[in-house]
């Protein structure tokens, strides 16, 4: 039964993305003090493609994701080795400004973290900082568009001036998605964006991800095999800090090479 569902899902979305490489990671290693969290990982993230990271809890998905926009810089004990190229440029090069990088590579965190500001200000935060709007009217537009894309507009439009922290957990997560989308990143990293959402909001976010794929590349960490199968074109399976298998999503879910991948997606490890 699982299998037929999965196949249906794989059929519904076009399964090939662009072949242009957006991010290319080579020999990436991450250490937290003495903990070796990521072990020699090579991955290519294609442009205009949704890439899913799957794997059991604690295997290093979030850690690797945070390497891609240098969020690990904020953790004192974290050390990143190897090479990560964005459009051919090493993001860990000394000349690269992590601030600029993060404007291009946006992120939605595993736990919703709205600022203690109004809903409007939460979404307008990025555009204001980066000067994306020339007038109040333009800013209003960006805010509305982003909230719509994150499927939050209908619930939030009458309470834009109320604190974002007053929303429910799922609403907060969508607010964080809207906030990230509002800055128009080239790559969007999403760490379990749907873990707090109900099925309807999940479907809406998945729709958004699909829509974003037309212009950006999206990397999504998820614990839901179905979700990975539904939204992604490429899937990477992590296990204990290793990248075990990385291939087209259809391939991973129908005919995985590695026995560990197979047992994970069929629910035997994890």
């Amino acid at each position: 039964m699982e299998d037929t569902d999965m196949n249906d899902m794989l059929m519904t979305r076009n399964s090939v993305g662009s072949e242009d490489i957006k991010i290319s990671a080579r020999h990436v290693q991450v250490f937290y003090g003495d903990t070796h969290a990521i072990k020699d990982v090579d991955v290519d993230i294609n442009d205009k493609t949704v890439t899913a990271f799957i794997g059991p809890s604690g295997c290093g998905k979030s850690t690797f994701l945070r390497c891609l926009n240098r969020m690990n810089d904020t953790i004192d004990i974290a050390r990143v080795e190897g090479e990560i190229l964005l459009d051919g440029e090493d993001i860990y090069d000394k000349r690269v400004d992590p601030v600029q990088l993060r404007a291009k590579v946006g992120m939605v965190f595993q736990k919703p973290n709205p600022f203690p500001k109004s809903i409007y200000d939460n979404v307008a935060y990025g555009p204001k900082i980066h000067g994306l709007a020339k007038s109040k009217g333009e800013l209003d537009e960006i805010v509305e568009k982003s909230l719509r894309r994150a499927a939050l507009w209908d619930e939030a439009k009458d309470r834009l001036d109320q604190p974002g922290t007053g929303l429910s957990g799922g609403q907060q997560q969508r607010l964080c998605i809207a906030r990230a989308v509002a800055t128009n990143p080239e790559v969007l990293l999403m760490d379990e964006p749907c873990s707090a959402l109900d099925p309807i909001a999940t479907a809406q976010v998945e729709e958004l991800i699909d829509e974003l794929r037309e212009n950006f590349s999206v990397v999504i960490v998820t614990h839901s095999m179905q979700q990975a199968a539904r939204v992604s074109q490429k899937t990477a399976f992590f296990h204990l800090g290793n990248l075990v298998e990385f291939d087209d999503t259809t391939k991973i879910f129908s005919n995985p090479e590695d026995p560990r991948t197979e047992s994970y997606i069929t629910g035997r490890i994890g």
């Binding site: 004192d76 946006g106 965190f109 600022f115 935060y125 990025g126």
Partner: protein
């Protein structure tokens, strides 16, 4: 024998008894178990604790309350033994002239308060005199006020005595002393009795199914409640000590005259019956110039300490590397531990002359000034502000920083737009606490703000000398001549009373702000 029966010895006896009780209680519980420990409801150790606590705790509480309230009881006793027709209380006819009945009544009341204060200080002086080995109890019992110049004799021994020692005062002082002696013995005796009763009862209670564990829990909870009550009781005691003299002062001098008076000039020598009423005193005791100086200096101190402290906190929590933090934080904390008198000296010998050299002696005639005291007090408050702000800034969840940085904000933008707004109520709370410390600060201003004893009006020049509430309290209480019931000293109580409420209000405000802030993240 009765000399041995003091509170410390009682305390010692109670503790020894409790220790013995612990051992006996354990033994008894073990023998009650009859070799089968599991038949006991509670462990032998818990039975031991129960006996120890039942022996010590009630006696301990009694001792504490006794030390608190015996003073109170002895006050009530003096009030009661001085009759209304005591000759010393009569107001001479020439002093009654032109006064209304109400005013005469107030003066008589004043004389009564003064007389009682005299009796009390005489009793203390005699205690001291005997303690210094100048006389025995028996000799003192035969003293008469006019026998020898008693006042001189006591003063020569270094004892503080009121203006006039009369026969009436002496008689009452002697009976107060014997009352106090009785009181001093009764307390310890009661405490020991209480602990013996507790000891015996709790030992008798030990049986297999006695729930010692639960009883010990009860004692523990009681003890914790008691500890927290003590802090509140201290506040109440402070208020109690300040209220009565302050109210007397307000009634005598007039609340309005005090709060809005523009002149502070205590006459200094007014020992004895307050000679006027409702502001008609030789002393001018207006609050405004003092609170003006206090607030002026506090303002300068905040202008120095808030930006510096806040920036230091932001630097330490957001930008400094671990190594820097490991050095700078303890350094700041050491600064917080420097006694304020040291800051005062620094202000007096370094900052004051420096400022004077910079601004010139026309603007700044003295090295002491608002700015001298204010800047140094500001330096003193920097670690205070920075460590409180550091706490609230660190309490802002890391996820907030990540969220902002993840959107491509710089660290400064993150601090300014996310962290400070989130931490603002807490920071404001820290500032208010700093303000209340600045207002209550004494040693720095004593040395660096100016020591004028008389002031009129409000000094606008920040480089001019001012007086503050705290410096005037120190000056009047350490000054020569003022009898303890003079209007000047009463005014000092009113100052302390007012200061208490100002800082209390500020602290409450700060607490509310911090509490409001806590609600956001917990």
């Amino acid at each position: 024998m009765s000399a041995l029966l003091t509170l410390p010895t009682a305390l010692l006896i109670v503790f020894i008894l409790a220790a013995v009780g612990f051992v006996l209680g354990r033994k008894r519980a073990i023998s009650a178990a009859g070799g089968d420990q599991s038949s006991l409801h509670s462990l032998p150790k818990q039975h031991g604790w129960h006996v120890a606590l039942a022996t010590a705790a009630p006696a301990f509480v009694l001792i504490i309350f006794w030390s608190f309230f015996s003073g109170l009881v002895s006050n009530i006793y003096v009030e009661a033994i001085v009759p209304d027709d005591q000759p010393e209380l009569r107001l001479p006819l020439d002093q009654r002239e032109g006064l209304s009945d109400r005013e005469i009544e107030i003066r008589i009341e004043g004389r009564r308060d003064l007389f009682i204060a005299n009796v009390k200080s005489l009793a203390v002086a005699i205690d001291g005199y005997i303690a210094n080995g100048n006389a025995t109890e028996a000799e003192v019992g035969n003293w008469r006020a006019d026998l020898a110049p008693l006042q001189e004799r006591l003063r020569a021994d270094g004892q503080v005595v009121g203006a006039s020692v009369t026969q009436g005062a002496l008689t009452h002082a002697l009976s107060l002393r014997s009352f106090n002696r009785g009181l001093a013995v009764t307390g310890p005796a009661l405490a020991i009795a209480l602990s013996v009763i507790g000891f015996a009862l709790s030992l008798a209670l030990i049986k297999r199914d006695f729930r010692a564990r639960i009883a010990v829990e009860g004692w523990a909870r009681g003890f914790l409640v008691f500890a927290s009550t003590m802090a509140i009781l201290t506040t109440v005691a402070i208020l109690y000590a300040l209220t009565a003299p302050s109210l007397t002062f307000f009634r005598e001098y007039g609340v309005f005259n005090f709060l809005f008076g523009l002149e502070w000039a205590p006459a200094g020598d007014v020992a004895g019956v307050p000679e006027g009423h409702d502001g008609e005193y030789e002393s001018a005791l207006g609050f405004l110039p003092l609170i003006w100086g206090t607030l002026y200096i506090a303002l300068v101190a905040l202008l120095v300490s808030v930006p510096l402290g806040l920036f230091a906190a932001i630097y330490l929590s957001e930008f400094a590397s671990k190594r820097v933090r490991a050095w700078v934080k303890p350094a700041l904390e050491i600064l917080a531990g420097v006694p304020t008198i040291v800051y005062g000296i620094f202000a007096l010998v370094t900052i004051g002359p420096f400022l004077q050299a910079v601004v010139g002696s026309t603007v700044m005639p003295n090295t002491v000034s608002v700015v001298t005291a204010g800047t140094v007090m500001g330096m003193m408050l920097v670690p205070f502000v920075s460590s409180l702000s550091d706490d609230v800034i660190n309490a802002v969840p890391q996820a907030m920083r990540d969220g902002s940085l993840g959107l491509g904000a710089t660290p400064s933008e993150t601090v300014l737009q996310v962290i400070l707004p989130a931490a603002l109520p807490g920071i404001v709370g820290a500032i208010v606490l700093a303000a209340s410390r600045a207002i209550g600060e004494t040693m720095i201003v004593v040395l660096a703000a100016g020591a004028l004893s008389n002031v009129t009006g409000l000094e606008p020049n920040p480089f001019g000398a001012v007086v503050t509430v705290t410096t005037r309290i120190v000056a009047v209480l350490t000054g020569e001549g003022s009898g303890f019931d003079s209007i000047d000293v009463l005014a000092v109580f009113a100052l302390a009373f007012t200061l208490f409420f100002i800082t209390l209000g500020l602290n409450l405000l700060a607490q509310r702000m911090v509490a409001k802030y806590r609600e956001q993240y917990d």
